[in-house]
């Protein structure tokens, strides 16, 4: 990356924020103008994030495109550098930026269906997106946390106003649990800043500080649990299925697709990179919680009738893999964890897109109510099957690439865990195939003969996501190169 690419990093954060501000000025009855604006903005985000991903040079420095603008310094408790607007990415962040850029495109397209207060919906959605992008590209701990919270806050209104079923319950539960996590992160950030005594929130400078081992052991769990709540880490996952089930389609897509990855990303950035010894000490705990979540989520998904709840528990299960990967403390497991973050993000976004597309027509998403849908909605079914096969880890799909890394890593570290992880994959196949056989095949239920095939916007969105799944599955090296090099060279404590 050349130095000026810092502006591209700033742009991925400013485009959604600017769009949100512009939308505030547009009268809400100008629907076509709103649609045009969001279409342009979503494509711009995709283009810039793809550019950022491709420009990241995995043979170069750890952080690339680094540039800092002074925000507050030299007063009160702040030293010379104080709080800065500092951008820069490593290979992990590059993959996450691309993930967000891909998911926001279909997320925007499917939301044009919304009739009620569409403008307000997009304002909140784009503020959320700005927070997500910002968290991935910012290297200042204060700004990082500010944007992390910015990404969480709009969720409440997005779910409570535009959601379905038990939306107020889901929204409040999600909000209170995530904020409880923020308390832990907040406390750790305060402690890290005070302990380092640099007078600066610059994460790169803070990484260089050699924190006391007891300090690391004390504060690493705060980060791991605080961010882990957002990553639906067992046993703090219970907001996730409820929240996903009640959220509107685009919000489920972004939330399960991107926001949960933010939690895992936080564990890497503030946990492992900041406090490597604490991370190494607590890694076995992470692996236990991870494999429990993977098994528990998969078994729970077996019993769900509501498709969204099933996908929600499936997300808990897949995020469990991420924790397992991080807990292995070897490069291959870690690479798998980051790949899984990407792969699961794309795949689950596709799931929620398709479920949403159907729910909008049928107002029902209980699996036993459907059968033979392949006859009525063949295109929908094809996309669904692609997502499902990726989810159960079929070779040639994105999920396989990620999971195979995690399994190898887990077998190297703890063979028992590796075995359990493979068992989880088998359960995953069971609940997905159960759903396929029940809902898609068999005798067609004439109750659904009114249902139409999904709209062109939804088809286009699904094509983007399904294309990414196959691309990553068939040619993973652009991702693996960037991620594995970063992990190998820069994450302390992770061994080959």
């Amino acid at each position: 990356m050349v130095e000026n690419d810092a502006f591209a990093l700033l742009a991925v954060f400013l485009i959604p924020l600017g769009t949100a501000v512009l939308l505030m000025l547009v009268p809400s009855r100008e629907r076509s103008l709103i649609i045009a604006l969001t279409a342009a903005s979503s494509l711009a985000m995709f283009a810039v994030s793809l550019y950022v991903f491709l420009q990241y040079d995995f043979n170069g420095d750890q952080f690339q495109g680094v540039k800092a603008w002074n925000y507050m310094s030299d007063m009160g408790l702040l030293g010379d550098e104080g709080i800065q607007l500092k951008v820069g990415i490593d290979g992990i962040a590059a993959a996450m930026v691309l993930l967000t850029g891909i998911v926001i495109v279909p997320g925007t397209w499917v939301s044009w269906k919304i009739q009620d207060r569409m403008k307000d919906f997009f304002i909140l959605l784009y503020i959320l997106t700005a927070g997500v992008f910002g968290t991935f590209v910012m290297l200042d701990m204060f700004v990082w946390f500010l944007l992390y919270e910015t990404a969480l806050l709009p969720m409440y209104l997005l779910i409570a106003v535009w959601g379905s079923t038990r939306k107020e319950y889901g929204a409040m539960k999600l909000m209170m649990m995530l904020l409880a996590g923020s308390i832990l992160i907040f406390t750790a950030i305060f402690a890290i800043y005070a302990e380092a005594g640099l007078g600066s929130f610059d994460m790169v400078d803070l990484y260089a500080v050699d924190f006391d081992e007891d300090f690391q052991k004390l504060y690493f769990p705060l980060i791991a649990v605080g961010c882990g709540i957002l990553a639906a880490m067992f046993p703090f996952h219970s907001w996730s299925p409820d929240g996903h089930a009640s959220a509107p389609t685009a919000v489920s897509m972004l939330h399960a697709g991107v926001l949960m990855k933010l939690g895992a990303f936080g564990i890497i950035r503030l946990g492992f990179q900041m406090m490597p010894e604490g991370g190494a000490f607590w890694a076995p705990a992470l692996i236990v919680l991870g494999i429990t979540a993977a098994l528990y989520g998969a078994v729970s998904a077996l019993r769900q009738d509501d498709m969204k709840l099933m996908t929600g528990f499936s997300s808990v299960s897949h995020m469990g893999y991420v924790m397992v990967g991080l807990g292995t403390m070897n490069v291959i497991g870690w690479t798998g964890a980051v790949l899984q973050m990407f792969a699961h993000g794309i795949m689950t976004a596709l799931f929620f897109l398709l479920i949403g597309a159907m729910y909008d027509q049928a107002h029902n998403r209980d699996i036993p109510n459907f059968s033979g849908m392949a006859k009525q909605m063949p295109i929908w079914t094809v996309f669904f099957v692609i997502a499902g096969l990726a989810s159960l880890g079929l070779p040639g799909m994105s999920g396989f690439v990620a999971e195979v890394h995690i399994f190898i890593g887990a077998f190297r570290a703890y063979p028992v865990v590796g075995g359990l992880a493979v068992l989880t994959a088998a359960i995953t196949a069971t609940y997905l195939l159960r759903m396929f056989s029940q809902a898609f095949f068999g005798e067609f239920n004439p109750r659904w003969s009114e249902l139409k095939e999904i709209t062109y916007a939804e088809r286009a969105g699904a094509t983007v996501l399904a294309g990414t799944i196959l691309f990553l599955g068939l040619w993973p090296s652009p991702w693996v190169d960037r991620i594995a090099t970063t992990i190998e060279t820069t994450i302390p404590g992770v061994t080959l």
Binding site: G76, F142, Y156, V161, M176, I183, F190, A191, Y193
Partner: protein, 489 residues
Amino acid sequence: MTTDLLGNELNLQYELLGPEIAVAVTAMLVLFADAFRRELNLGRFALPALSVAGLAVALVLSALWIDENKDFARLVQIDNFTTFFRFLFLAVTLIVIVGSHEYIEKHVSHVGEFYSLLLFSTVGAMLMASARDLLTAYLAIEVMSFSLYILVSLTKNDSRSGEASLKYVLLGGVASAMLLYGLSFLYGVGGSTQYSEIAAALSENTSDVELPLLLGLALIVAGLGFKASAVPFHMWTPDAYEGAPIPITAYLSATSKAATFALLLRWFSGPLLPAIDDWQWMISALAVATMVVGNLVALQQTNIKRLLAYSSIGQVGFMLMAITAISDTTGSALLLHLSGYVITNLALFMAIVAFYNRTGTEEISGFRGLAQTNPYLALVMTAGLFSLAGMPLLAGFLTKFILFQSVVSEGYTWLVVIALIASTVSLYYYLQVIRHMYLYQPEGDATRWRLTPTGYLATGVLLIGVVWVGIYATPFYTVADRAIAPLFA
């Protein structure tokens, strides 16, 4: 130069007191203008306009003393700290008048006295921040409080107002008595009413006066705890907030709180600093109780003024942490937080004033569907409530972050953990109000309505302030840093 009886040289530059004199003169002019309202043929805007003009003059006069450090007759100190609070208090009164003159016209009895007393209490508040002598400070507190006792009772046709005022005056009287008694102990120990001399006396060894000092401190903390509405001295707050006219509720939550903290900062960073081991635990206990009780009791409120009363009690708890961990960094963080809090609270109350003018209700359920009948006002309310809850991109997040971080840096991590939990609880009840505005259909009249031009002006300026502090607080923090410097010189 003149000298006093003890031979101390006195500086009698009256222009140092320019802002106070200007406001006091305006207050008297308002009274006269009101008495001769008919003879002078005054319109309904005359009194607010006169008050605003007086405040504007005072603001200009305050600006003359930026970066000066002089005392007036050894009674008040005009330094950046004083100037900071002068600006703050004058601006608060100005905004309250601009934002709620229609309300005052309609819902307040004795309009002339109302404006006049409001101005007098501003004088008291400014002197509280500038006093450098215990007696001056005490008199300033009483000037502010007495004006407020009466102001609280001025709601038209509302029996709660008189009741609130009576409670406030009785409990306030007891608190003043305790404070004065405490000050007499302090005088006994320190041998002077001058801050600087008390500090000098206390920093010499005082092992034989431990008990009187402790007693004095306890009484002072109780007295000031009442003024700041810290738990367990908070009982008057919800009633006074509920019964008072809304502009006075706003004023109580802004100026009266800020003035008390100005005084606390002066005392605990100056004359009482040598006795830090004796009072630190008292203030930290007070801070914990205030944060916890304020935020928990707020959960059950159904009246918006009572809700904000308890929320402001909770906020006082956060600010008391900074007094516990007092240093120049926590001091400047506290000033920053205080300004952010004042701006946010005023934004909320000005929005509530506009809402009440239209609907006549203060119940939280009355806010149903506001997002549809007046989206702008709902936005102002949401920004204000989220800012109080400490949500990002708004004033509350940044100022709380800086405040909490500075307290942790002084070694009080445990206090901050409690504060963070309390702060998360607070989001729950703020969300309840937001829920009513956005998730429900309006009841009754569902037509769109607009604010008056002055309503737009007041809420607009404050909304910009809330967002500005949240996004780019550097200028505010610089100012706070300069304002706190004279206290720790």
